[in-house]
């Protein structure tokens, strides 16, 4: 066992873990952050996606030794109290939520995309979503939700400046 220190959703956390333990297990078991979901364990569904140092990572295979000192954001960390993050609000408004198991991963994918680039082209916005399996929606409402998220993010920014 070794000590790993990193921040999760802005809070400094230290856990004891094996260097090869997976971040998803640590988040879910040690830190009680169950928002990231386990859908496959072999990088093919992306339900476990979290943002590490600004980039999306599939936490089911991400070893703890790679997150020493990292800044991690999970789906639990982006709403402001009772106010949803614009991406979350957009997915709700677009009807993109059915069973919801893939949604935390999709929220975090869009979060990383839009943090890096608030004005993505369709391709920049949609390509990363090819990593994410959804069995319910047929992706149509997720696509609408992604577009709406871009809009809501811009509006939210304007609000802050105003």
């Amino acid at each position: 066992m070794e000590k790993f220190t990193f921040t999760v959703n802005g809070k400094r956390r230290t856990v004891e873990a094996e260097p090869n333990d997976k971040l998803l297990d640590i988040l879910r078991e040690n830190l009680n952050l169950t928002g990231a979901k386990r859908g496959c364990d072999n990088l093919s569904c992306a339900a476990c996606t979290v943002v590490v140092n600004g980039k999306t990572e599939k936490s089911c295979m991400l070893q703890m030794k790679k997150v020493q000192g990292a800044e991690i954001v999970t789906v639990e960390g982006i709403a402001n109290g009772m106010d949803l993050h614009p991406i979350q609000r957009a997915l709700v408004d677009a009807g993109a939520v059915q069973c919801g198991y893939c949604i935390p991963g999709i929220v975090m994918e869009l979060y990383a995309t839009l943090q890096a680039n608030p004005n993505p082209t369709d391709d920049e916005l949609f390509s990363p979503l090819n990593e994410h399996l959804c069995r319910c929606t047929g992706y149509e409402a997720i696509k609408d939700g992604a577009k709406l998220a871009v809009e809501y993010m811009k509006k939210a920014k304007t609000k802050v400046i105003a």
Binding site: A36, C40, C45, V92, F126
Partner: protein, 777 residues
Amino acid sequence: MKQMTYVGKDIERPDAIGKVTGKTIYLDDVKLPGMLHAAILRPKYAHAMIKSIDTSEAEAMEGVVKVVTGQGSDIFYGDNIADQIPMAVEKVRHMGEPLAAVVAETLEQARAALKGIKVEYEPLPVYTDALEAMKDDAALIHERNGEYWHLPTLPPVPGTNVACHYTLNKGDIQAGMKEAEVTIEGEFDYPLGSCAAMETHGTIAWFKEDRQIEVWSTTICPFIVREDLAHAYGRPIGEVRVHVVDLGGCFGYKSDVTIEQTVAYIASFVPGHPIKFMSTRQEDFTSTLLGHGIRTRMKIGAKKDGTVTGIEATVFHTTGAYADTGVNVAMAAAHNAGGPYEFPNANLQGYSVYTNTPPVGAFRGYGHQESHLAVEILMDRLARKLKMDPFQLREKNYLGPGKTTCLGEKLWKTNGDINATVTKVKDALFKTPKPKEDDTYVYGRGFAAIMKSPKGAPFSTKGAYLKFNHDGSVSVNCGGAEVGQGLRAVVKQVTAEALKISPDRVRSFDEIDTQYCPYEWQTIGSMFTTQGGRAIVRAAEKAIAQLKKTAAQVLRVDEDFLEYDGDSVFLKSDPSVSVPVTEICRGYMYPDGITVGEVVQATADSRLPRYSGPDQNGQGNMGVSYTFGAQGCDIRIEKKTGTVFVDHFASSFDVGRVINPMIIRSVVAGGVVMGIGAALYEKLEFDEKGKMKNPRFNQYHIPRFNEAPGKQTIEFVETPGEIGPFGARGIGEHPLLGVAPAIVNAIYDAIGVEFSEIPVTPQQILAAMSGNDKKEV
């Protein structure tokens, strides 16, 4: 149609915010005090006698609390055929079967200890397809076939691997085929697949010291799980309590009892501890339930003018190692083989066949998509043979008011209007000429019409319980499983409409708990809106009657002079004489503190009108509305690679009444993409030893974001039904039914090759395009 206030509007799903914030609790998120973890050993052979199991090494390993085998178990279970067992006893029948289990402090310890279990086998012949297992010299997978308890309507064939042989006769098939001037026949294959919900199956079982068995499971039939466990362990049904937290998708395979009996069996050896088992993705493929596995031989006879005279179909179902969960799928595939057409004469047969593959269970569509693949491809081929327009041929034969289904049920206007749905799809797709072949692509256009019969059982009721809180808000509980289909929004909207109150005043249930929820048979067959909604309307009527009864005392007038508008009860002839709902919903209090009346709370259920089992002809009354629809597509095939792109998919269904436009669209859009997966990508494959070759998401190809159609047209017809709330019929499974035949028909339209098996892969298309121009594959 009657104008609705809250039904037909987009209200926000009650479960949406919990899901986007990651706070919704699914089974894998549940932790209980004292909880231990189980891992399950799967056999090395798909069919073998168990010579010995040595668990001693595993028992000594770190963290191990108990090692469990099936040796000595005499539990058999099943609601159709009691051929299921919680863990292999004398033999193993498929490679995903539970053979032994380890309970340990941690999941890692439990998994590690599996390696310490030594098993000796005596291998037996392996069959992965119904036709192989039906051969005369095939070894028996169940030596006791025929001895198991089974429903009287499911006849087994003892001494063979046929778990059930179902036959339906309508009219006189010999006369029908004699009358035919043209016949057309084919053999079609809809291979084994997985519902592959994003959440795998999981269960926590806890044999408590007070003799209660408490279970949390990813099931859509907690009441059946409860009854089956009570039966297996000799407890009163009320002593088994099943919880269902949110479900990460279902699509069929979380119905029936799947892993619950196995996890309970393991937990029964460790009383006092909750035992948790969560399937890995691989186990979700190999060790829960599969779908389809249906080969259909079909022959249709018709007159030269296109009027059909008869249909013969035989369904060969690779039902898997246990037939309890799959037997009705083969029956449904057989009795729905006629699709949306009236055949005056029919002989339809279904063979449920034991094989050394994981058991098949429900898959969204339940036998219909497999039959529709056959009948809708054959209708196109028949049209070509008759040199008729395929739409005209179909129109001549559609079921509708006054027509009779193969099951012998007469249809009415209230069963919906298939022609109206066909018109919508024609308008969306067939009015403009399709693009001409270019250097890169060749284009195709295909169509399929659909019929969905209901699925019931004699006691298949759904219940609702609603109570008025004293501020006038209403809490509603049902036993329906929210799997993503939006059921809780339906509950909210139907309650609001029935009670004439804003949906903001209605709180829908979240968790299901068999101790507190009204009884529901199981949430299957696209029937929650129809039946659960009806139960809510009935409960609402009772609640309104209670309000009027109290108001009658308060206002000193007979109840029949009173009217209710959601906020108050008032005198019809003089609305100024009224009392607010908030003053009577827990009884009424006079100024001196004396109260009269009762708390307004009502329960109701909703059963299927005159549902009956099959008679000697295999016919019967399914008791609920049939639903009709039409689907079509524009596709593009890349000539270099053979890849099929679905550019535009159009669907229309007569759903009777749309409850929530946004949710119903999303459900249809998702069903269409699931159908595209079946048509073009999805097939579970087995090697000769019975090992599944592709039980992972990087091997079993379900559609991704960039494989969804470029455009979907989704439109509804609303011819009210008689049973569902405000005329609504079901829609959950329907979007899948016509997708594969529409795509296969479009591929023919593009390249002139008749495919009969799915998925149609780019390799097959390339081979077909480079070979003879017109041939059957």
